[in-house]
Amino acid sequence: MTEVKTAAIPTVQHASAPAIPLTQRLPQTKGWKELVRDIWDDNPTFRMILAMCPTMGATNMAINGMAQGLATLIATVASSVTVAALRNIIPSEVRLPSYMIIIAFWVTIVDIFLRAYLPPLSAALGPYVPLIITNCFVLGRAEAFASQNSPGLSALDALGVGLGFTMSLTLLGIVRELLGFGSLFGIQIFSGWTPWVVMIIPAGAFLLVGLYVGIVKHFSPGGQIGGGA
């Protein structure tokens, strides 16, 4: 989280700022509020029920879930910053196709990078990395936030969504790998474990995400639960 804090500081450099310690000053900043709201209150997976394809397709192992989350994070931040930087140039009539092309460009870069430097991981994730293009919240952040805000604030907003998404996917991957293989990040935890086959097959993904959504809603019923297209 340290790099997140340093990234948030520039937004509070006004006259009275230096007198207050950082720990009290930080939660008051706009960037920090966006970040926390996106990670928890509007968590893309368990709150908004967005981006379900990679959430289920890429979480049979903890490492896959984490990699998919980080790939999405990078693509989201890069796309949001690009859209925010070009927000005064793109005519509003053609903004959605333009956003799609910007997102497709960044996802292509992430996909080629993974194929070149981490081929086993790229093979394990398969088409779910290219499918970040149709990830509802990447376009959602571009349209709802980056098209009206500065690149810096848009980067924080995208970072919050990306971190919330990475957290959710890693959590799902940990549970599925632990119950399905008895291991964690490839290290055997339970010896002589009888694998729960249901956790590895698609059915387990649906059941587990459904349970998580129920648990999150049960313990903090306040926020909205989405279910968009």
Binding site: C53, A203, A205, G227
Partner: protein, 198 residues
């Protein structure tokens, strides 16, 4: 015979929604009502059957000869967006009755991962031939429509069921989808679309 097997396989054994998780967001979001679920299902069948062969032709006659495979993602998504727009305009002009029932779902289709996902699986991962791609596009659409219509029918019954507060809405829908996926496991192994690839 192969074509028939691929259509059947795309519906049952390689169901695009229940085995490869494509198009779950609209599956959860639009399955609340039977009428809108069947509308969305028809729109997916229509668009998937058109975009798969179109992207197949683009890959084999434009991208591969020019050696610009790295542009494939951008070209696929632009083609999908373009075709959806054309279908929408065509329907509005010549099939107004169909347009009034499917029209609102068409713009949503561009960001439906079932379309891009179907293209990526059939063309990039499995490397199917042209007729096989058409069959997979149609079968995949029918399989997706089957799943969302089944789900909508179940959810209409659920309105009167005593569900725990936290699970109401998307939670219980996902768990039902899990049970459906489990029953579809019964079909697995009959046909494997991967075997038809080159």
């Amino acid at each position: 015979m192969d074509i028939f097997l691929i259509v059947l396989g795309a519906i049952l054994t390689n169901n695009i929604l229940l085995t490869t998780f494509l198009g779950i967001c609209p599956f959860i979001g639009v399955s609340g009502e039977y009428a809108s679920a069947s509308g969305m299902g028809m729109a997916v069948i229509f668009v998937l059957t058109m975009t798969l062969p179109a992207n197949w032709l683009i890959k084999h006659f434009v991208l591969d000869p020019l050696g610009v495979g790295y542009l494939s993602l951008i070209v696929y998504i632009v083609t999908i967006a373009f075709l959806v727009q054309v279908v929408e305009m065509f329907m509005k002009r010549f099939l107004p009755a169909l347009y009034s029932s499917l029209g609102i779902f068409l713009p949503l289709i561009t960001v439906n991962c079932a379309i891009l996902g179907g293209v990526l699986f059939a063309i990039a991962t499995w490397n199917l031939g042209f007729m096989e791609s058409v069959a997979y596009g149609f079968g995949g659409g029918v399989g997706w429509a089957l799943a969302i219509i089944l789900m909508a029918a179940i959810r209409e019954r659920l309105r009167f069921a005593p569900i725990p507060e936290g699970l109401k809405g998307p939670g219980i829908a996902l768990i039902i989808a899990g049970l459906m996926a489990m029953s579809f496991v019964g079909f697995s192994g009959m046909i494997n679309i991967r075997d038809f690839g080159g």
